[in-house]
Amino acid sequence: MIEIDLEKDGVRGVNSRLHALPKDTNERHWLIRNPMGQHAIACGLDAPITVEVAGHAGFYCGGMNKEAEILIHGHAGPGVAENMMSGIVRVDGNASQSAGATGNGGLLVIKGDAASRCGISMKGINIVVGGSVGHMSAFMAQSGHLVVCGDAGEALGDSIYEARLYVRGKADSLGADCIEKEMTDHHLAKLARLLDEAEIKANPKDFRRFGSARKLYNFNIDHADAY
């Protein structure tokens, strides 16, 4: 494992070293010490490497990730794994707002709670939260899965398109065009796989499924009140 001191090298220094790695690199395991809540740590990675962040990260940690596995041993600030394309980001602690925002692919696991707007505008990412999520989570979610092992705050899935939401606890309220849907064997199997990948123990049968009623796709004067 290669250790880098972020306090010494700075965010730009650390990220430059990680960006310079070819996809077939032998330097596959990195540890970033002293993250000190700095922003944009391990952003824009594009190689199948493992990067551990030894402490709390600031904004946008692991953003735009492709292929890498990023392990944050602490809290993650706003926008963790935003616009992730593939790979895995795991957060040991809680996450601030907008976790996994606009993510296209990959898996984001938050062991603790995620604050508001978790999975906002998600486009294919899978997000598994061990605790609860705040208000406006999965706002305008387009595809992918959001799994919440705790509760969801107000307006879950507001203006949702095709993402699938699984919540074990209660949802304070559902946003516009978000409805509860039947949990079929197909959904139970997918949820079991997601929990397995996330390494979170929970019984898929305890979850409820939410998704789009598909009434707000196009402007319809009869639905003007719902906008």
Binding site: M36, G37, G58, N94, G134
Partner: protein, 299 residues
């Protein structure tokens, strides 16, 4: 933008180091607010019957001793003044209303930036590091402290427009965000007899709180009503006699983070401000929920 930071020491053994612990917190928020900075520190509580006034004047050579002597002659009460930067801490057992009325009549250029038993407010334009040095805060001892670094968005960069804003005895407010209904609210509060020094939106929030508290509302009730009456984006940190409170608007876009250990509780706009504290790596860290009042201390 703007950055707000607060530190409340649960472990009294750390109190001699309050200013030293807080310095990197405030300075880390310089990039969010390089225009001006301010702090409210709670220390050296005045004796029973005495009030401490935090006073400011634009002239760094202002004759505070002369002012204190004149006030003493006028009130026949005990008065002392200690100059710190271009501020002074005036301690007296004269009646609070009498002191403010006398200052307004005789020294209209002197601004009362805060008052109470323990609170001392210092604020000034310039980089946070310079402001901290100016008021010799690195050596300050005390129980808790809140601070603000300002990047002005809706009113002028002046000392009067800097935070914290006093909201009553030993109470003050720092704000990250912007209020959208402050003009209307200011007019309403003027009709209730409140006076304003600036066009600043946070001054309106402070005046609103002053008005509510004067009517007998508790701090909790004041903040709950504030959520209903104040429109806009805000994370507020309110310094109280024995702690601080944090509240966010219902949308909660303006960043905020809380961290707690056995020794301290800290709040900041960004975690990197808290990262410097001893034990921050093992702290419990979470983002405060919207419309929820978090309170440390006895209020």
């Amino acid at each position: 933008m703007c950055g707000i930071v607060g530190l409340y020491l649960k472990n009294p053994k750390l109190q001699p180091k309050l200013g030293q612990l807080f310095k990197p917190m405030l300075i880390e928020m310089t990039s969010r607010g390089p225009d001006s900075a301010g702090v409210a520190i709670y220390r050296n509580p005045a004796k029973k019957g005495f009030t401490k006034f935090s006073l400011a004047h634009d002239d760094a050579k202002f004759a505070w001793k002369k002012l204190a002597a004149a006030l003493k002659a006028h009130t026949k009460k005990q008065v002392s003044a200690e100059q710190i930067g271009n501020h002074a801490i005036l301690t007296t057992n004269a009646r609070e209303e009498a002191v403010t009325a006398w200052l307004k009549a005789h020294y209209p250029d002197v601004r009362v930036v805060g008052s109470g038993q323990a609170i001392e407010i210092f604020k000034e334009t310039g980089l946070p590091e310079k402001v901290y040095e100016k008021f010799d805060l690195a050596k300050a001892k005390g129980s808790h402290i809140i601070g603000h670094t300002r990047m002005a968005t809706e009113s002028a960069v002046t000392t009067a427009g800097s935070h914290p804003f006093a909201t009553g005895a030993d109470l003050c407010l720092v704000h990250n965000g912007s209020l959208s209904n402050h003009n209307r609210l200011r007019e309403n509060l003027k009709r209730e007899g409140l006076e304003f020094q600036t066009e600043n939106d946070t001054e309106v929030a402070a005046a609103y709180m002053t008005w509510k508290l004067r009517q007998g509302a508790s701090l909790k009730e004041t903040l709950e009503d504030g959520i209903k009456d104040m429109d806009g984006f805000y994370t507020f940190c309110v310094g109280t006699h024995d702690g601080f409170a944090v509240v966010r608007d219902p949308i909660a876009c303006k960043h905020a983070i809380l961290a707690e250990t056995d020794d301290w509780v800290a709040m900041a706009t960004e975690f990197r401000a808290i990262a410097h504290l001893p034990g921050a790596d093992k702290a419990k860290i979470w983002e405060p929920a919207p419309q929820t009042i978090y309170n440390w201390g006895g209020h």
